[in-house]
């Protein structure tokens, strides 16, 4: 018997309207895990600002939230560009009011061995994940400090911040940077009542982002195979459901967690802890080439 399945989608963990009149910004909130997290805030009454680079992406998140009767507005923002971040905040705050909860979810990642990773690939991923997180958090912090009102920041990290991420060394380095930033800012901004934490999810497959799958050889056509291959490696015996990230996010950003700051919380069905108790090791480059060849054949 693996770890139990979670309560169904739509189940409520925190009291009703826990986020009434609270404006929550989710970067990259139009698709995938960001959208799922945004939905859980919306269910609790939040006014959600869904921001992403492309309007067609944030529109998906806004539509999903409105479809459950939630409040949402979209905004365009390239997190790699501090001026665009400022403009994005201006745009959604004009519609919803000041943002007091920020979810730094926007990310970019793709598997590639380091010796085949171009400097531009490294720069692109670290620009989005590390610099983007800083630009958004800085913009948020400046506004909250000026208003003399507190707030909560939640970064979406990855368990490999602690172990390294063979095959995704750009993302792993950036996520480790985000963790360190979490610690620094937790101390710097505690006097301003601004909390900052990082949630590090394990494997939470999302079908609607499969078109830009992280995995080498992964595509929209082989999502089930990708899940099956990963599933047998996870001690929990199941993959994560996105709503589980949503519930933990709504807890960490709520007044119930007002003393929790500077924390890295891993939600992964114990997967990162199993390393030494694991299957035969296959060199990263061989594994990468094998899966690319398999995908090409299929």
């Amino acid at each position: 018997m693996p770890l139990s399945d979670p309560p169904p989608l739509g189940a409520r963990m925190l009291p009703e309207n826990s986020y009434r009149d609270v404006v929550v910004m989710v970067t990259g909130g139009g698709t995938g895990l960001g959208k799922a997290i945004a939905l859980e805030f919306a269910r609790l009454g939040a006014k959600v600002a869904v921001v992403s680079r492309k309007p067609e992406n944030w529109q998906l998140g806004v539509d999903a939230i409105r479809a459950i009767g939630g409040i949402a507005e979209g905004g365009s923002m390239d997190v790699r560009d501090a001026a665009s971040v400022k403009a994005g905040f201006d745009e959604v705050e004009a519609k919803l009011g000041p943002v007091s909860v920020l979810i730094n979810n926007a990310a970019g990642n793709f598997e590639v061995p380091a010796d085949r990773m171009s400097p531009n690939a490294f720069k692109t991923v670290t620009d989005i994940v590390l610099n983007g997180t800083f630009y958004c958090t800085r913009e948020f912090g400046l506004r909250r400090i000026a208003l003399k009102q507190g707030g909560a920041v939640l970064n979406i990290g990855a368990p490999y911040w602690a172990t390294g991420g063979p095959g995704t060394s750009h993302s792993a380095a950036a996520k480790a940077g985000v963790v360190n930033l979490t610690w620094s800012l937790a101390v710097e901004w505690a006097p301003d009542n601004i909390r900052i934490n990082t949630l590090a999810p394990g494997y939470f497959p999302e079908r609607d982002r499969s078109s830009h799958s992280v995995e080498a050889g992964g595509s929209a056509d082989n999502v089930d195979e990708q899940i099956a291959r990963r599933l047998i490696t996870i001690p929990a015996g199941r993959v994560g459901s996105a709503r589980e990230l949503g519930w933990l996010s709504t807890f960490l950003c709520s007044p119930y967690a007002n003393y929790i700051t500077g924390q890295i919380v891993v939600l992964d069905g114990t997967n990162w802890l199993r390393r030494w108790h694991t299957m035969p090791f296959e060199p990263i480059r061989e594994s990468y080439d094998r899966r690319l060849a398999e995908a090409k054949k299929a």
Binding site: P6, G150, A186, V187, N258, I260
Partner: protein
């Protein structure tokens, strides 16, 4: 403005029926944190078993459970003794049914510089803390693996696992071992739907054992205040709930950014012995 207070202690977080049908066993429930967790699990639907060496240590927690209309049972025995722990489980389960939630809470022991620490004290603290956790967790695991009912364990660690805990070396060593045990068991027992997580609280009001007064601790924390016991209880409630069904092997520290602060501490370093002697000489000697 430092970190704002949370909701008041009377605010419950989870729905009142969240733990209906569950029996929760809490060890060493005598301090403010033990009482708060007992009350929070009770008002979220659990029947609460309180276990410690003697009934007096369970009185406050029992009263806290009754105050929220919950059902409780006190079971006594030496938690460092595996045979006694088995008897505790037998008695609790005989009366109430399977224990599916275990909170391995451990009360703080007074700080003591290592050069003043006799071997007896070192053993009492490390053996007392670590063996209690091992005995209770193993007993729960053996039972829930056998009957397939699954379970959730919450351990207590320290934010100081990476930095050491100068001034409380014995407690920190034991708590760090508990944190490592948390991770090993999380992997070993995931296939049996037994989740094992750990809370690492900073300074909690009503839970510090001295000799440094709690009022002197708050100024050391970036949050500008101590943790309130019910804030710890909400974390425990989340960890045990079905909403955390994928959470295992996780450490959640609740310390108001305390451990990240050393690089920005503006005050001169005070040797541990100096600090201890000053505190012990004041009115706040060890309890």
């Amino acid at each position: 403005m430092p970190l704002a207070p949370s909701y008041p202690a009377a605010a419950s977080m989870l729905a009142a029926d969240t733990f209906n049908g569950h029996v929760a066993l809490i060890t060493e429930p005598g301090d403010s944190v033990g009482c708060a967790i007992a009350a929070e699990l009770a008002r979220s639907g659990a029947v609460v078993v309180l276990a410690d060496r003697d009934a007096a240590a369970c009185q406050a927690a029992a009263a806290a459970v009754e105050a929220v209309g919950g059902k409780t049972k006190v079971v006594t025995g030496d938690l460092t003794d595996a045979v006694a722990v088995k008897a505790i489980f037998d008695e609790a389960e005989g009366a109430l049914g399977a224990v599916t939630i275990l909170v391995n809470h451990i009360c703080a022991r007074p700080d003591l510089p290592v050069e003043l620490m006799a071997l007896d004290r070192w053993r009492a603290v490390t053996h007392g803390m670590l063996d209690t956790v091992f005995n209770c967790t193993r007993e729960l695991g053996a039972r829930r693996i056998a009957d397939g009912k699954g379970g959730s364990v919450v351990n207590f660690g320290t934010p100081n696992i990476d930095t050491g805990g100068a001034g409380r070396a014995d407690m920190t060593a034991a708590q760090s071992a508990v944190m490592n045990l948390t991770k090993s068991l999380a992997v070993e027992w995931a296939p049996y739907n037994i989740r094992v997580n750990c809370i690492a609280p900073g300074f909690v009001a009503g839970a510090e054992a001295g000799p440094v007064a709690e009022s002197d601790l708050a100024v050391t924390v970036p949050a500008g205040r101590l943790c309130e016991p019910h804030e710890v209880a909400w974390v425990a409630a989340y960890m045990c709930s079905p909403f955390a069904a994928y959470l295992s092997g996780a450490i959640m520290s609740i310390d108001g950014a305390s451990w990240e602060r050393p690089g920005r501490s503006p005050n001169a370093f005070q040797p541990i012995r100096t600090r201890y002697d000053a505190a012990a000489a004041s009115n706040h000697g060890p309890k």
